[in-house]
Structures are given as C-alpha cells and as structure tokens.
Amino acid sequence: MKRLLKYNEFYLAVLVVVLCICITAANPAFLTPENILSFLKTASVNGIMAVGVLFVLIVGGQPDVSFTAIAQVVEYAVVLATLRWGGNIAIALVGACILGGLMGSLNGFVIHYFRVTTIIVTIATLNLYFGLLYVFTGGNVIFVVPSMFKHFATLPIFPMHGANGSTYDFSAMTLMWFAALLLGWFILKRTYLGRSIFAVGGNEVAAQRLGINTLWVRVFVFSFVGVLSGIAAIAHTSIVLSAIPNIIVGHEMEVIAAVVLGGASLFGGKGTIIGTFLGVLLFAILQNGLVLLNFSSYWYDVTVGLAITIGMTVSSYQQLRVRRSRVNVKVEQVAVS
C-alpha cells in the first residue's frame, strides 16, 4: 500500500473517484451507463491525442503544440476526399494516419537536424498548417459529411438496453481511444523503440553513446502524435458530423495539461499511459459534471484552469519538500550525557 502512495497516478485516481462521488451526490444522473458512455465518447478526441502528447513529453519534456492543427487539416482533407471520391471508413482512417504521420514527421526532422527546441518548431508548424488550411478552404464549415461517418458513429458494439427501453452502447470512438491507450502502452512497455524513447528522454547523450538512433526515435514520436491526431480527427468528425475549422485548435493546452497532471514530467523521461488516461478522464468528468449540475459552460474554463493551477501547485510543493528534506549526511548519533 505504501508503495502506491509514491505514485502520482494514485492521487489522481483518488481525485477522480472523489469527484465522481461528489457529482453523483448532486445529480444521480451522472453515474448512469448512458451518461458515462456519453462523456467517454466526447472525451475520446482529446484522449487519443493525449497519448501522442505523452510520447512527446517523454522523449524530451517539451510539449508539441501543433497536433491540433494536424488534426484539423486531416479532418478537412479526409472529409473533402471522401465527399469527392467516396470510400469507406477504413480507407478514411488509413488516409488520416498517413497524412497525420507525414505532417508530424516534419516536426521530428526539423527538431533533430536543426537542434531547436520543440516548442518553437511546433509553434511554427501549428501556424503553418492552420494558416494553410484556412487559405485552401476559406474557413468554410462543411455541414454535410459522407454517411460513412454517421455509420461509424452508430456502429453497434455492445448494445445494451436501459431501464426505460432506451438503447445505449459503447461508441466506436471510445474504443478507438482505448485502442490508442493500449497501443501506446504496448509500444512504451514492450518494444525496444518505446524503451529508446524513455532513454532519449532520460539522457540523450547517454542514449547516443549506447548507439540508439535518436533521429529515428524523434521522427517516430512526432509522426506517432501526427498519426494519432489524424485518428482523433476521424473520431471528431464522427461525433459532430461536420468539419469545423477552428474547433480542435485552441485545445492544445487542455490536452497538454491533462497529460502533465497525469504525471508526465516537463523534464522528459517520465510518464505513464494510466496517468494520461486519468488526466483526460478528470477533465472529461469535470466538464460533464458542470453540465449535469446546470452550470453554464462558461464555468468550464475556470474550473479546468483552477484544477491545473491547484494540481501543479500541490505537486510542485510536494517535490520541493522532498528536495528540502533530502538526507545529505548520515549523522552519527551520540549518546546524550
């Protein structure tokens, strides 16, 4: 039990549970299967991207801010392509992955070859991709998307029946999120590539000395977050059944904050899938709770901001106390005479 206390994820889990209890007490509709499945569905977009952001934070500590732009571009590209040429959801997904991966890999190459900080490069690509998107699409919202997205959104997975005869189900998007989490876990824990990502994040020079190819590790990480952003874009389109140019962009900080609250270190080399999941879950529950408790949506941002501020204050203070009370010398005890 004591070992559990060392983990950031444990506190986060407790927080999530406490939050659930509070919200349910105020509005029992929270803990119903329909509701839970619903907010799990909406959270999936951020959740999928968060897995990618986790990888970026592990490899170098600095966040990538261009992933939302990649998602937006892919969303438009896929919708326009499927409107033009048809196809099915599988092709759309594959296309999304490829496009997202390519866009992300640009970040990886530039960061590695020019040795610039991640945040500067991704700010540049964020602006580049987002700006070009608007230029080529005129910022138009696409209100009608191919029916494949609707079919995808309503795909029956485990149909269940509610008390009053309503049906509810896991959505395919939620499953995609869980699949992304699983994939992320698998790569990080079980593959040489994943361990190399941790190695580069922990001590890049040492990693190079060991013979790890840091270029490919970086390119992979940034391509991966691009791929995941592409998948998130498909999820998003399936949920809102339209393409809106500026709805995903603007939420970078929220996703990054969720990953950081989940335990990823801003110095690199640390982070877990569970923590990322819990972080995203926390924000999703917050948002859902506000809606159920009839707070206007205005309060969402304040709540999230407060959550982040308090969260990292507490976390940093804890780390500060640990540093201060470090044992530097084993002082010899002398008998008091």
Partner: protein
C-alpha cells in the same frame, strides 16, 4: 614491436583539431591485466587519448595495436568488439530507468530486436551483478541511487559484453570513502579475472594506492611512464608540472587577535549536528573530512543556502540569524563554492559581470542606475590585484583557464569585503602550478585580517594552508588540532578512522 604482454599499444599518435595539437607523438602501452593510471592536467590531452582508445575520435596518424593485432579502422563498434569499454565521469546512465534496464540496455541495442523481453533483461542484469558481487536492487530507479551505486551499475553494464579493457574516467570524483573502497575492491577483483583497467585520476593519493604503472601526459605529449616501485607524490607532481614545487606551511601570527566568529551547537537534521567552533582574525581554519561528512553542508548553513535548524552564530560578538544568502553576506560571510562551473560562475556572462555580481546593488548612482564608471573601476581593480589573466573584461568567463576562473570567483567575493571567507575545494580541477598561487592569495588575505575557513578534500592542501584543523566525520566535529603538529598522511588516517 608490441610485446606479447601488451593488451593495447598506441604508437606515435597525433591528433589535432583544426590546426591545434591535442596529442603529439604519443607512445602508450597497457599490459594485460594491469591497473594503469593516466594523469595529466586540464589541457594535457587525457580526454582526447581516451576518445581515440574508445574509437569515438579517429587519430590523425599513428598505430593502434590490440592484443597483438593492428587495428586498421578504429570505430566505436570496432573497439567495443575488441572488448574496450569506457565509463565516463558522468556515467552515461539513464536516470529514469531501472537498474536492470540500464545494465541490459547495451545488449538490447546490440540484439536489434523489436520487442523487449523483460525476464531476459533481468537475467542479463543478474548475471552482470553476480560477476562483481555487488548488492543492487534490480528495480531501483538509477537516478535515485547514491553515486557509488550508480557507478556499480555503469560497471555492470560494461561487463555485459566481453570486457577486456575498462577505462574509468575520474571515477572517484564524488564518492564517499566507503564507496571508494568498494570500487577498489571491485577493480582488483576484475583484475584477478584478467581484465585490464585504466584509471584517469587527478587524486594522487589514490593513484599511489592502487596503480601498477602510471603514465603522465603534459601538453599533449608523454612525459613518461613509471612503475609502482618508483612512485612518489613528489615525483608525480614534478612530472605533471614540469618543475619542482616546494610547499611551505602557513604560519599564523598570534597575538590577541579578535574573535571573528563563534558557532555554538549548530545542528541541521540529516546534515550535521552539534557543531561548535571559533574563528579568529587572520586565521586559516581548515576543515577536513570525506564526502558525506557534512563539511559542505556546514558551509552552506553558514552561507544561508541551507540554514541550520538550531544553534547560534555570532559574528564579532553579535548573534546573527542567517536564513538567506543575503543575511549571510550582510553578516560578513563569503563563500567560494565547490562547483565552480555551476555554483561559482555564470559561464556565459563576462568576467566583469561575474566580478561585480555580488555587489551590483551597491554600485549605483543616486538615481538607482548602475554607475558604470564605478563598476568598471571596480572590475579593473580586481583584475589587477588578483592578476586575472584576461585580454579584456568583456570576455566570457567560460573561456578562462580553471585557475583564472577561480580568481574571478574569489574576486567577486573579495569585492564584498567579507569578514569571513569560506573556501570549499578551491583548487579542484586547477593546474598544480596554479594551485599554489591561489593558496598564496588566500594566505595574503588572512594576513590582512580576514578569517578564512578552508574546506578541502586534499589533505596536503588543507594541512599546509591552515594553522588549525577541524576534523569532521558523519556530521560531527571529531577533533581539533594544530596543523603544525600533523602531516597529510596523519590527517588522512584520522579522517578515515572508523569511517
């Protein structure tokens, strides 16, 4: 021709970087199964030689022979295949990963497999740990281990391949006595298994204790290799500096000097306990003790970086509360820190800026703006009086030699006109010749009435440059002795006793 006994033989190695020589005509050999120490000042070419041996850098010309065969293309993978591994001073470990993973990572890279099989990793790690019989928790996070154990992890990692030659670059720099003993044991054990060890060190007492042969490099050239039988401290210093240096002892002119500092029962949990001592004007009080004895922690408490929990500090008879660096400086303290490069200087800033850093708030005109003329005069004055060798004050301080850098740090603190100057390891990483000039500066300072506390790892430094000596061990003061009554070997023994 290399003899059969030689594991490694370098002949006539030349290496230069863009027209500047790092190594010139170096002939070097390592006998199989010996413990060989390489000594040299900063700038002597030590690291370049290591890089050539490990294959990181190619030599410009010359021959490399390993086990009697000529190596034609010395790349890292080639040299690793030849059984040569280097453990750098920074250990090159992955601090966020576990012991098991760190040890096995090299094998992971070599295996080139996509998947990671955790039981296999543990097996590799266990095997390596068993080879040197050290106690390591496979699941411990390396970054949280004490330095001594981290080093063991690095050595285990080197053992996962076919190890024939292990090169250790300044291995004992931050080890406690116990850890050093352990390391020596492990090294001797490896030697008995036929592994050749090469040590790079500047700690002459350790070199004397363990080396079978010693090679001295100076200015990129071989000065010579001497056998254990001819090894003495003076001989080594002479070879390193190129001249014979005499050391005279510091003498304290007593005579009713004022008591500057009175420390009573100073205590800080997990750092030191019940520290009491006095300091008089003009004294140099030495504090000797190994790493982990609490000596630096005591200095940091006096200086306000890590204030004590209880006890009193009286400066000039007045009790002072020291909770911050500002408090300490106001009370008259100054501290020349152990880590010159991270704590003593802002490397990218200029010599001038570093010199006035501590007193910048005093160099203002009535309008609260920096009085540039006064500032420049102050800078020039300190450069002159401390003989800091620099072309002009705007040069970045990182371009200076170690000795000059230390003068800048000292100058910065002398500018605050301190009553008590604390020096912590003031000549670490400084040329043997430059060391004595730093000592002279300190002695002159004492002669002018400043009280000096000199903390050092090097017993000869602390014994010859102080009039009184405090011995610290495990956070407490164990003894107070007159420096004139002891030699450095005495003190070394006293400090290690029952450690």
């Amino acid at each position: 021709m290399p003899t059969m006994d030689d594991f490694l033989r370098l002949r006539n190695i030349h290496k230069s970087f863009v027209g500047v020589y790092a190594l010139k005509g170096v002939d070097f050999s390592l006998r199989s199964g010996e413990i060989h120490c390489l000594i040299g000042e900063n700038g002597s070419g030590k690291s370049t030689l290591i890089k050539i041996i490990s294959g990181v850098q190619p030599a410009d010309s010359g021959e490399i022979w390993v086990s009697g065969t000529r190596v034609t293309r010395a790349t890292t993978s080639e040299m690793i295949r030849a059984g040569i591994q280097v453990i750098y001073q920074d250990l090159s470990l992955l601090p966020n990963l576990t012991v098991a993973e760190n040890i096995a990572f090299a094998e992971l890279v070599k295996a080139r497999r996509a998947m990671v099989h955790w039981p296999k990793i543990r097996e590799i790690a266990r095997a390596a740990i068993a080879r040197i019989g050290v106690n390591l928790d496979l699941d411990a996070v390396v970054g949280e281990l004490p330095v001594g154990l981290q080093q063991m992890v690095a050595i285990c990692r080197a053992l996962t391949g076919e190890l024939k030659l292990l090169v250790l670059d300044e291995p004992t720099a931050s080890l406690t006595k116990g850890e050093i003993d352990n390391l020596i044991k492990v090294v001797r054990d490896m030697q008995s298994r036929g592994i050749t060890i090469m040590f790079i060190s500047h700690k002459l007492n350790e070199v004397l204790a363990i080396a079978d042969r010693v090679t001295v490099l100076r200015d990129g050239q071989m000065v010579g290799t001497i056998d254990r039988s001819e090894l003495t401290n003076d001989r080594l210093i002479e070879m390193m500096a190129g001249k014979v240096l005499k050391q005279t002892r510091f003498t304290y002119a007593d005579g009713h000097r004022k008591k500057l500092l009175e420390v009573s029962h100073l205590t800080k949990a997990n750092n030191f306990a019940d520290i009491s001592f006095d300091l008089y004007e003009g004294e140099i009080l030495g504090i000797a003790g190994l790493i982990g004895s609490g000596r630096t922690e005591l200095a940091l408490a006096l200086f306000g970086i890590a204030p004590a929990d209880s006890g009193t500090i009286k400066v000039g008879g007045v009790e002072r509360s020291i909770e911050s660096v500002q408090d300490a400086v106001a009370a008259g303290f100054a501290y020349v820190p152990e880590n010159r490069l991270t704590e003593g200087l802002v490397l990218k800033h200029s010599v001038g800026e570093n010199l006035v850093a501590a007193i910048i708030r005093q160099l203002v005109s009535p309008v609260r703006l920096i009085d540039e003329k006064r500032r420049d005069n102050t800078i020039a004055e300190w450069i002159r009086s401390l003989s800091i060798r620099v072309a002009y004050p705007e040069v970045a301080v990182q371009t200076l030699s170690g000795g000059n850098q230390q003068r800048v740090v000292i100058g910065k603190w002398l500018a605050t006109k301190p009553k008590i100057l604390i020096l912590d390891g003031p000549t670490i990483g400084i040329d043997v010749a430059a060391k004595s000039s730093i000592h002279q500066i300190v002695r002159d300072l004492a002669a002018q009435g400043t009280g000096v506390i000199l903390i050092s790892d090097e017993m000869s430094e602390v014994v010859t440059n102080s009039n009184r000596l405090l011995l610290m061990r495990a956070g407490r003061i164990r003894a107070e002795i007159e420096s004139a009554t002891v030699t450095d070997t005495d003190v070394q023994a006293m400090v290690e006793a029952a450690a």
